[in-house]
Symmetry: C2
Subunit: 472 residues, 2 copies
């Protein structure tokens, strides 16, 4: 039974809980339940014990602890890799998750040291004269909320996910309560166990609830906040929770995202941009078996380059070996669970109504060193949606190794199609034409929250893109 770490100690539920499965073999790994966890007590403990301790520390002290924690976890990352494999991850995937998470700690540690003062408050901007006589002045300062940062994470990054939310909260002076998604919670529990054992963090600044959130949200106050990653439908449910509404609780959701990558009209076969685009597309489809919030779901391609991109991408995908991630010959592992595979297949069905597959069969995949049915294996599937106007292309996210090629006819058309994602997490333009890049980046509505562009550009924001002061 996975344990929760609340109110200063480890807690084990006494009921049966639910089983969690190895994504590769289908074997039961552990059970999970939060039955009996005193959620209100945990929040009160975080506020009182964790918050008070954190607020005593300066930004530089908090930053130093983040760095120390990062170094400690780096020493123990082999533990995490081993368990990560059971989520279906290859060693490369595990490094992405584990080293990525550790990298976030280092990065916030470094930013805290460089960009924040060695003080407990952050001064924002200059003194503002408010009255004419000079006796009425304004000065904005940031101080921490007195609540808990409740962090509800998705299953796809069991290490990076929690650390990415914990680091800025800690630096800002707020204690965290982490609730991982159940399917991969065994890895997050191990992470938290390492952190607790390190003894580095002030008590109460990091808590863990494994299992259902129970009545956690009922106990929220206007001083707490919720940072959620997961489905848009769950986000809507949580956002309208009575306690969230009553307390105007700060609520941030990172939900379904139909990210796009746009190939410039100049990037024909033979150019470095074409090669970069195809390579990035296949990488994004297959790293973590495509289970990344930032994966490219919509590859927007000039109409006359559709065939060339389809052909080049299919050729690359044909070399992607699928199977037991422990086997060194395997390039892509399993999805996180059989449930998740069912979910992806359902989405694929909707997408295939609006297009066709140019690579991969949703119902069949050759695997190395594993049982394709007992493990949550799925072939990469590259779709082609020649009718770019179909709603499915811009609204259905298959959260696995799935992307769709979609043709566009002009920069304006590309901008229009990109905007139909209605709030994507990332987007990219791959082109050597600076004017095209600028017109697309400035043309797409600001709902694309992070947008990376350069002459020949990369695809996703893998490093923490926020400056600390913008987080809270």
């Amino acid at each position: 039974m996975l344990r929760s770490y609340v109110s200063g100690s480890w807690f084990t539920a006494s009921d049966e809980g639910r089983p969690l499965y190895d994504a590769v073999t289908g074997d039961v790994i552990s059970r999970i339940s939060s039955e009996g966890v005193d959620m209100g007590g945990a929040l009160a403990y975080g506020r009182q014990t964790g918050g008070s301790a954190l607020r005593e520390l300066t930004f530089h002290q908090r930053a130093a602890l983040l760095k120390a924690l990062a170094s400690y976890l780096r020493e123990h990352r082999d533990d995490l890799y081993a368990l990560s494999a059971r989520t279906g991850a290859t060693l490369g995937d595990s490094k992405f998750d584990v080293d990525g998470g550790i990298g976030v700690l280092f990065s916030y540690g470094s930013k805290g040291r460089r960009e924040m003062p060695n003080d407990t408050i952050y001064v924002d901007g200059d003194v503002e004269p408010l009255g004419k006589g000079g006796t009425f002045l304004g000065q904005h300062i940031y101080t921490p909320l007195r609540g808990v940062a409740v962090q509800i994470n998705a299953f796809n990054f069991p290490v990076w996910g929690p650390l990415e939310k914990f680091a800025p909260a800690f630096l800002a002076g707020m204690p965290s309560l982490i609730k991982p998604a159940s399917p991969t919670a065994f890895l997050t529990e191990r992470l938290v166990s390492l952190i607790v054992d390190s003894g580095l963090l002030p008590e109460g600044t990091l808590q863990l609830v494994c299992g259902s959130a129970g009545d956690l949200l009922d106990h929220l106050t206007e001083q707490d906040l919720v940072a959620f990653t997961g489905s848009a439908s769950t986000a809507q449910r949580l956002r309208t929770h009575p306690a969230v509404v009553a307390g105007s609780v700060r609520f941030n959701a990172e939900a379904d995202s139909l990210n796009c990558s746009i190939l410039g009209p100049d990037a024909s076969p033979g150019t470095p941009e074409f090669d970069l685009y195809v390579k990035a597309l296949v990488t994004e489809m297959t790293v973590k078996a495509g289970q990344k919030c930032t994966a490219i779901r919509r590859a927007l391609v000039p109409t006359d380059l559709m065939d060339a991109v389809a052909e080049a991408a299919a050729a690359r995908l044909a070399k992607v070996t699928v199977g037991n991630p422990a086997n060194a010959d395997v390039r892509m592992g399993a999805l996180a669970s059989l449930d998740q595979r069912d979910e992806v297949r359902r989405s694929l069905k909707a997408l295939l109504d609006a297009g066709r597959s140019v690579f991969g069969d949703p119902d069949h995949v050759e695997v190395i060193d594993a049982d394709a049915e007992r493990g949550a294996f799925l072939s990469p599937v590259l779709l082609r949606m020649d009718n770019a106007e179909r709603a499915e292309a811009h609204s259905v996210e298959a959260f696995g190794p799935v992307s769709a090629l979609i043709p566009y006819s002009s920069a304006a058309h590309a901008i229009d199609l990109a905007a139909r994602g209605a709030g994507s997490l990332v987007g990219s333009v791959v082109t050597a034409d600076v004017d095209f890049a600028a017109s697309v980046v400035l043309g797409v509505p600001a709902a694309v929250r992070r947008w990376a562009a350069s002459g020949a550009c990369c695809t996703t924001c893998n490093a923490p893109p926020y400056r600390p002061r913008r987080e809270f």
Copy 2:
């Protein structure tokens, strides 16, 4: 019948609508209805016509228009003062509202010119290295949302309220749709009429809906935003509107606020701080007949100074003449409506259960040059809540000329009491003791959004306290 200004022209509802009354005489001034307004059409018009035009302008061009508009309105402010008197406002109150609103335009005009670039995008921070090779860099830019800033205002500031929301939206490149509260909408309609007649603003950048919001919110998208001022209960209803939830529509509410002002233990009778405190308390109670979101509702006073403050404040209040604001002898006018007076009396009843009046009778007031019953007149009422722990003191807002003296025993107690406001708009500390000021300002949770403090400090933030870049 008040008109709405939507989709490029004035619209008059054809139904009977509801009557609006002169706050001083009780006479019907006009009628109001939004029956027949095409809300979806107005939003689409704002996005397409207004948004496109605004995005063509640089921040400096937008700032220059704000300044030109401010100058134009200043030329016409006598029109606004005259109508403002019918909301129950004295000339001083009207200047507060009208000149305050014009001041916001000047201020954002000046900030736009000084703090923003002469460009259509705003660059936020330095280029951030994201990859080690130097080929992956990050640069944050702000671009305008492609939607409409829907601004739902309260009745108490019919000029300042809309201008305070319009100015930052315009500077940020977003068109506004203003929905004033009905009781004083006749003054906002006159303001918008002046603005439209000025011909200064690009068409579609400012629209007005007088009357019910109807199905306005049903048409919101993720590119729109809602800025609301009014009651917490209405805020909760709007925040959970299906379209707001579905589109994660940015929603900001400025609702009920139990602001406090804390008198330092050093500020005994005879000190300038004592006099300043008492003067500010009475001013805050009586300007706009206490109908200010930033008015002091809770006067936190050292226990041993309660009698002295009560006596000094009562003596000042006794000199406040109430009546027809057109009469030069009158210091305080009427509430905005008879309904509002009923509402304040209801709240006073709850507060009087938890304390007692040291000045003023909720049911009786002597008035000059008016009929105390036909006009919405109410005496200033200063309460004394000797039991500081009573919940009513920290949760019931009587939105009129009402404040309560509440005793505290130590700095920690004052901080605790201040925090019970659970999200006040402003707070103040009046003291010559810098250590006391610092401990209170840093001790009160950050839910107090704007907090003014200095050695001997003022009470409210009457000038726009935000830097433009923090608005959107």
